[in-house]
Assembly symmetry: D2
Homo-oligomer: 357 residues x 4
């Protein structure tokens, strides 16, 4: 279950400290001219950066496409994407060999497989998303070739600091701060909270909001391949994600039908809805309105405080996690959310084409 999609299909491989992380991308139509530079840029966006709130590792993350592309054009054959793991200071992790870090996947992986690569997160590391972001950017370029669909995401909450409601947001403001929050005042509050939390050796979670504009009508496959079901599965596979909702989401449970129904209207020669409680999806299929969803992340579990835990011999032990870790990984997850959404769309668009043509 290392794959996402069925026609536009990506298969992930790699551990945080194996020689490489990578993926194989199938189903990209032949003859697509790739913008290699943009693929690298997308991956760079999820890298650990030099700001205070995230890890100081220098991950170069050079994307190599070793098959499926010839003279910058896709061949229609599988594209293998490789990123070398250059920074394997595995001795950093020696003290963790026998111990289970709280709320990490150490214990569950070891119980499942009877054996694990204790250096860093292994297969459960956030690092494995790097080549998938490259694949997502290829999905994006494929989509842009045929459609005007645009996917973007931003951080709407870090810890207890959330965007005020009903603010008008502009995509152009997202990258104006390191928190990828398109609201300057909120970003300042986030900065204060992150700094305070960093000093306390603690960590923060948050929420990413994602918006898809210019959706064509009719994308999504009943029953288990609903657009919302596919997005939920994809987002839930990102590290530390705890919740997914679309449209009005959990808040919708408290509304009445008369409040949450989206009435149709005919505007400028197009069928539209007056409101968008549905988040652009009805019966699992896009209705042409903007798709909107939110993804909740828990704080990362590698806090810089001593924690009581158990080792493999079931003995109590205090664990100090000394590696270089983020205070809040949510802003780094923004390009991952965008990438996965693009891959889900690319796959469903290819499915829909079949049905409609």
């Amino acid at each position: 279950m290392n794959s996402l999609g069925s026609i536009f299909k990506v298969t992930s491989f790699g551990e945080s400290h194996s020689a490489m992380v990578g993926c194989v991308l199938e189903g990209v139509p032949a003859g697509l001219v790739l913008d290699i530079e943009k693929i690298q840029q997308a991956v760079d966006k999820r890298k650990t950066n030099q700001t205070n709130f995230s890890s100081t590792r220098n991950e170069e993350d050079v994307v190599e496409m070793v098959s499926g592309v010839f003279e910058q054009k896709t061949l229609g054959t599988p594209i293998c994407i490789l990123i070398k793991n250059k920074d394997a200071r595995s001795q950093d992790y020696d003290s963790l060999k026998q111990v289970y870090r709280p709320s990490h996947a150490d214990y569950t992986y070891e119980q499942k497989y009877g054996f694990r690569d204790h250096r860093g997160g292994g297969r459960s590391s956030f690092r494995i998303t790097a080549p998938l972001v490259a694949a997502g950017e290829i999905a994006h370029q494929f989509i842009q070739h045929y459609f005007s669909i645009e996917v973007n995401a931003y951080v709407s909450q870090i810890g207890t600091v959330a965007l005020p409601e009903n603010e008008t947001l502009h995509w152009s403001d997202i990258d104006k701060n390191e928190f990828r929050c398109p609201h300057a005042a909120t970003a300042l509050k986030m900065q204060a909270l992150v700094e305070e939390t960093r000093l306390a050796g603690d960590t923060l979670g948050g929420v990413i909001s994602c918006q898809i504009k210019n959706m064509p009508v009719g994308i999504g496959e009943p029953i288990f391949g609903k657009l919302n079901a596919q997005l939920a599965q994809a987002m839930m596979s990102i590290n530390t994600v705890k919740g997914f909702e679309y449209g009005d989401g959990f808040a919708n449970a408290a509304l009445k039908g008369s409040e949450s129904n989206d009435l149709f209207e005919f505007v400028d020669g197009k069928m539209k809805t007056k409101s968008n409680h549905s988040g652009g999806i009805q019966g699992g299929i896009s209705n042409g309105e903007d798709v909107f969803f939110r993804v909740a992340f828990k704080p990362i579990s590698s806090i810089q405080q001593p924690q009581e835990t158990l080792n493999q011999a079931n003995e109590k032990q205090t664990v100090h996690i000394n590696g270089r870790h983020d205070v809040c990984a949510v802003p780094r997850a923004v390009p991952v959310v965008i990438a996965y959404a693009n891959m889900v769309l690319a796959d469903l668009l290819l499915h829909s084409k079949i049905k409609k043509s």
Copy 2:
């Protein structure tokens, strides 16, 4: 994309007004003695019942297993489950042939396929979950044969009425009221709200909470087959679901790492965690604690009030939905949530077995 699971795999078919709804269930091991009566009972639980809050249709929903079972034992071959659609009063729907009901899937299906069965919800009807509940009960019986895992679910919110926090709940109380809410005082409030809403010709959404006890450690498949990702996809495929969260869910975004980490302890010869913010899942794999998740449902869109909408000719039209419809379908979705959770577990258990043996 009519299938859930890859080893224990169900494929759904049928429309609300086709001759039958059904499914094919593959991967059930041979030699399992089925309790046919309990399969019928599970399906009966999701039927429309005679209470005020739900539709008064008399759906008999007799489960027929026409293959894969011989002398009540599974053959290891595909089990086809059929339920006849007896009550096809399609003239009820004639007035809806040309019109798009607000927040229904009428418009999206027609745009996607260029053609739809306008009688009721067609493929997007809640009715198609009936045979899937039967399949889920087979999953349950398979699981019970090998494990002591128990799955249950209940209604924790209807409209604005929610269970009080930190109440001790007992599974035995779930079925004591028609709302499947294991808290008598809350159920009474739900009843009042439903009655009031029914008189207003309006509808209600809600939240279902699901708990899985006695989980073995190690269930869930990285990366895209995480236990939480599979559950999210399955739940998101249920009609009117708008959100999914597990463990602390969206609330986890506001906690610090030091607050949300679950510390290990060794109790009674077993590795346990002191808290369960994780909802029993770490790195997508069960850690042996109870799995806990919540599913948000929007109110059903068939309200009994006139609504403005458009017809196929893009003309304004007032629609009156006269069929027999539920005020709140959430309690009827409880057996569906249980069934889908059991199917996800059955599939992942079969996957895990391979890895561990």
Copy 3:
């Protein structure tokens, strides 16, 4: 592994003596007007008929499509096809409950599943191909709607009687005799051989040749989805099939490259090859020439002579197979070969469309 195809996908279910045999067909585009009569006719062609060479059972095999079709048009949703098993005289098989018929699947099924439906072949019966022939006819109608591809097959050998080489054959002659052999003189010899074999209580195998005309170029998916690989898998899944070859097949092994290469020529504005040793496939992809393949069938194992065998207690026993069985099932397999070829093509055409558009 009850499915064939991935976009145009059929999932088989049923045993020879379960209530029904059937299949679920996914991926048929919406809005296709089905010729229901022709679907029934295709299934009738594989029925046991009244002639001497085949069983005298009266299988009515009425095809029911209980979902996915509305007013004779496909909805784009799964089509469930059911055929009732009317003639379940299971007492005919009581004597076979404890005994393993030679070269039947009794022993292997029982060893695999620890339990089997001893009445007839169960899941291994030729009967399960009936609904698949219906699905294949739907594939045929889908293909005909978009392409001029035509698939046909005929019996080229029964036992030791084979078509003479280099005869010009006409498809219109295939159904002129009960052997589906488009060569009258050969059919007469087949008749003599079948009659003689029937009297001896013995059975016969044979070879079916299949030809696909008007193939578009570019159909087939590298690497494991080659047109020839998909055809081979499909044909090998038909009961009693022992071999598959395409183009010059096994004879090609003895040729030199200079003898077996197909040289290109440009004729009437089209790229053609002067010869067709390749059987219309190069690198797993159709080249526009006729596709040609042959399928070898062993004689069916239910001979009317006493045979020594073992029972479940590993004791020697003489088995008399008294049921009504064919002398030679090969002519009845002709519509199955055609149906499976059509399904393989339908799936690959849908795959190819994606790549090319």
Copy 4:
């Protein structure tokens, strides 16, 4: 369709002249200690060697496993296998850029994808089997860990020179000559034929026979996942394969049921069959006898003689294929046949385990 298997699953990528060829192998259970040396040896066996009958390219083919293996043990996570394409003298192929070599995949690939990597065979090259042989050897090591199954293959025919019938053959003789033919006298005749053909600038096909000993009973999945169907699909995906047969194969078509039935006997406490016309498979499931199948290869199409063909402008052109090409690739395909058979078995064994435990 770059994948083989569903639990033990390999996904192929790479072109003959891309940076690398490789594959991702999923489903290998965790904790398996790999013999890395043997993996390299298996790949070396399919390399072009220095003998007269095959190409003189010096392909080093160093196998790198860049994920899924830690301290020589499998992690239960995907194993990515890479082999660099060192010898990319693409100018050798410049003259072939606009021309379609007869019976190559040049024309079909270009028609399918509208664009191709003209350097060598691209995706259709035999070279892409190299990492798959490594994956097959991992399958072999997995199988050997749990079972005593042994797979071997040999060349039974080259051109018109075939093994005499009814010879007793010994596996230990297979590698005694460069033709991988376990019969010295026949190998000498093959040598003479190859030498003569090389001088004539021509090429040769042949037949590989494969035998699987110590098969457990019950391996194979009805209906479309029959052991024979899976083997056929896998073998058909190897370059230049034209036919597949198992047991008595095409010859079985001419036998009577009384001649081809395999009667059971009880020998040394085991159920056996007196003969093995079935090739160890009944109803698609192994019966415990040796599995035996044969694979027919056409001669490779790159002959060293001038050939008339067409170019992209549909103009006649004489093509001289000057690269370094094999006279007969069949001996080099022996390790590929073994590898693919091992992968099919590994996958089906994992499927069977589920059913039986």
